[in-house]
Symmetry: C2
Subunit: 75 residues, 2 copies
């Protein structure tokens, strides 16, 4: 049945837990534009692994804690 997998993330939550970090602040820290953070946060597309690593690093989390690649209906 070729279950459809989608990419989700906790960036928004992680930002808030990190002293209410704004999208712009996160973007600056990892060296991308605010639009990129925006698009990734909203799941508009799959970022490069490098950008994913940079984000995870800011929050001191492994990538799998920031991004989840799961079947759509997963809890």
């Amino acid at each position: 049945m070729a279950e459809t997998l989608t990419l989700k993330n906790n960036i928004r939550t992680l930002r808030f837990f990190s002293n209410e970090m704004t999208q712009q602040e996160l973007a600056s820290k990892i060296g991308v534009t605010r639009q990129t953070v925006m698009a990734i946060e909203k799941g508009k597309y799959s970022p490069s692994l490098e950008v994913a690593f940079k984000i995870a690093r800011i929050f001191n989390k492994p990538i799998d804690d920031v991004f989840q690649y799961t079947s759509l209906d997963e809890k």
Copy 2:
């Protein structure tokens, strides 16, 4: 000093530990071409997070066990 970070990976090793899986087999399993596996394995470029997840999933490992984003000189 803006330490330079580079992306490394253990794909080659993981393939061998997985019943000597070839690049072509891995490519087929994750739905990309052999050249793509080749390029990623040799670190020619940073794959998309989605492809990274697919690879990690084949080996039943978290992404951070397959890819390392570290400073060049790191042991």
